[in-house]
Amino acid sequence: MPSCAEVHSFVAVEGRRLYVAEHRPEGAIRSAALFCLPIHEEEKSVYRPMVDAARLAAERGCMSLRFHYTGTGDSSGSPLDMTVDTLVRDTLDAAQILRQRSGVEPVTLVGVRLGAAIALLAAERIGACAGVLLVEPVPSGRLYLSRARTRKRVRRMVTAAEGGEGVADSLGAPDQPPAGGVFDFDGHPIAPGLENSLAALDLAQRTAQLPVRVEVIEIAPRDRISGSVERLGSVLEARGARVRVRALVAEPFWNNLGVVHIPEVCQAIAGFVAGD
């Protein structure tokens, strides 16, 4: 049993209904953190580890809030209306809910994969921000879309090899959207609005000042920072952030299909949001 109070609720925001889950420490609230998860298949893989991280954070005096983006999970709306802007809007709304419930003004943002990119965009507009933790951030929407397509092709290839539907039959013409323009990524729709806004997302091109504490965690097979993450760190420093970049040796948990335990990542998140 978690040693914190957990409250699940819906909050009406401008005609939408956001699902939020709060993890409240038993003692005094010393900090507040908002968890920004990825979307689609990655969200499913990351979900439970982030619950674990939020509970761990609560044990260290940090009140955490998790939420479902509009059009996903228990929140209202259609996934076909999702764009990068709606993801950022939901994040800002959830941050405000967290402020009201915790009584803590400067919130910390924790983002994983695409959620990290969203957290970073939200941090530009959030006002009082105690810090941003980016876990294996998606640096560009184009790369994200490309990898999503690759993952789909690999899955179809394996399915075809096992006697299932053939690759050519199931994928159709490469990268050509079907009628209506909605791509199917492993059962999740990516409508033109989301696809176009993702294609325009490039963290390296952002220039707004961001004078906050930022930690970038790269999940890697070895304790080695990749060039792309180093570059992201440099870009953030140029924007005024106090940046720490590090690698954590762990499996790419956002791709895993089964139960995922990543205690080292959860500890790192809890430590950051608790201000360690």
């Binding site: 092709r153 290839m157 394996v158 090899a161 097979p221 790419p252």
Partner: protein
């Protein structure tokens, strides 16, 4: 230009790293069936494809997603050598 034999050692290392295999890369048999020997699934194959892209800049064309390509370390090395040569 790298030959398949030259690519086999670094590819073994890449596969061990990417899939968190508890084996010594040097002990891997380049001709053994990868999927059966190491229990590789679609997630693992995806990691290998991403690894080829990150380490060698090799991007698979749509008609190259063929399971035979990933039959063994050697088959991957032969494919990688042909892509790097083109």
């Amino acid at each position: 230009m790298a030959t398949p034999d030259e690519l086999i050692p670094p590819l073994k290392q890449l596969i061990v790293d990417k899939l968190f295999l508890k084996v010594d890369p040097a002990e891997m048999d380049a001709d053994k069936p990868l999927m059966d020997t190491y229990g590789i699934d679609s997630v693992s194959l995806f990691e290998i494809v991403v690894g080829l892209e990150e380490e060698y800049g090799i991007v698979l064309a749509d008609d190259e997603f063929d399971i035979e390509l990933f039959r063994s370390v050697r088959s991957i090395a032969e494919f990688a050598a042909s892509k790097l040569d083109s």
